[in-house]
Amino acid sequence: MKREITLHINGRDYPTTVHTHQTLLEVLRDQFHLYGAREGCGVGMCGACTVLLEGKPVSACLSLAVMAEGKSITTIEGLSHDERLHPVQQAYLDQAAFQCAYCTPGFILTTVALLEEHPNPDDDTIRDYLAGNLCRCGSYINILDAVRQCRQSASS
């Protein structure tokens, strides 16, 4: 069944029409052309489709678009402002924390959520929090460096 809903994406309201069975991932990509959220495994294991829902990381492939109605959705496209990268994006660049970059939006958004919760995470906390995001190029060491660069203590 088609349903008219308003999605709150990256700080703005967008009225749209979706099918009930459509996942949030499909709607973000196909209707809003926000291609930063990617389909990897399609079963919630890999983290390539990570978006922030009310600031918390979720798999967009395991959420129906209708269920996101009334909630704030943040995708990778919503992090930079006025052509300025978010500090976490900058850190991933500085540390070359990717090769093919398919997993990068998911990693960056998960890192944003991690830092919101733990502004000064130790290495164990970082590894534990990011364990559900998979990078098949194996850039984990550089990713860890990027997150370390974002720690509160790193900037003081």
Binding site: H21, T23, S59, L62, T110, A131, G132
Partner: protein, 286 residues
């Protein structure tokens, strides 16, 4: 066949009316991490999804000291691992829920959802059973509390009637002098479901075991517990020898499944080791 409809009742009573009206064509959906997966994999094809999201009465999380922990079905895994009340009164539960899947699933998935899905490869059921948890099921005919161990019937099957909704979970306070542990074994680092999960709860006094519960999850259609083996521990000293004996007996009694996380014979050996370790850890034997 008509297209899927998404319904948002505002009370348990309204949800029950919809459940009765649409019968087999309806599926309840909590936060969706399980139901949406089954939909996208074409494992289920309901006509109606009845969302529990707006049922405010399903979100409570209360710890009543000396009585126990009362949870609404919509409490998330993440709340279970991070709530100060749970971390203080039931650190073993906080730890168990922390071990589930990944941070995204834990933010989304609910306690009621993981129980009703009855996926054999889950962590919370074994631990909650070992702690003696009860669940409340509500239907137009009234409500009933049942022991969580009775809920699970087989792979993905519960004994909830088609017109029942699981609304509440209650975990009785642990007796003073009780130790509890959950050990999870994963076969691969990219795999986040357990190959074997062992929950052990031991009431002990001066090194003597007074009551033992050991529940093994992810190895069969339902969590596995053997009261006659547990009873062998009563009145005996909590030592390595006892833990070995119980571990061996559990490994002999369970007929483990084979799946991509391990063969049956492999699982049997893991069970023997993990049950032993869980008992020693829960009993504080170093």
């Amino acid at each position: 066949m008509g297209e899927l409809e998404f319904l948002r009742p505002k009370s348990v009573a309204d949800a029950l009316k919809m459940l009765v009206a649409y019968g087999d064509e309806a599926k309840l959906i909590a936060a969706g991490s399980a139901v949406v997966l089954m939909l996208t994999q074409r494992l289920i094809a309901p006509r109606y999804l009845i969302s529990l999201e707006r049922l405010q009465e399903l979100y409570s999380l209360n710890h009543d000291p000396g009585i126990g922990l009362h949870l609404g079905a919509m409490v998330t895994h993440y709340q279970m691992e991070s709530s100060p009340a749970v971390r203080t009164a039931f650190p073993v539960l906080a730890n168990t829920f922390h071990k589930v899947a990944n941070i995204r699933i834990r933010h989304q998935a609910t306690v009621g959802g993981v129980l009703c899905e009855a996926d054999y490869a889950s962590d919370p059921p074994a631990m909650l059973i070992a702690l003696g948890a009860l669940v409340k099921a509500v239907s137009p005919r009234g409500e009933r509390w049942l022991d969580l161990s009775e809920l699970f019937q087989d792979f993905y099957q519960t004994n909830l009637a088609p017109d029942e909704i699981l609304t509440d979970i209650f975990v009785p306070e642990m007796e003073r002098g009780t130790g509890a542990t959950y050990l999870k074994f994963n076969t691969r680092s990219s795999e986040d479901r357990p190959c074997v999960g062992v929950a052990a709860v031991i009431e002990h006094n001066k090194g003597i075991c007074e009551k033992l519960r050991v529940v093994v999850g992810a190895v069969a259609g339902t969590p596995q517990e053997f009261p006659e083996i547990e009873a062998q521990a009563n009145g005996r000293a909590l030592r390595e020898e006892l833990a070995r004996e119980i571990g061996h007996a559990y490994a002999e009694s369970i007929d483990p499944i084979s799946d991509l996380r391990g063969s049956g014979s492999y699982r049997r050996q893991v069970i023997e080791v993990l049950v032993r370790r869980a008992i020693l850890q829960a009993g504080g034997v170093t």
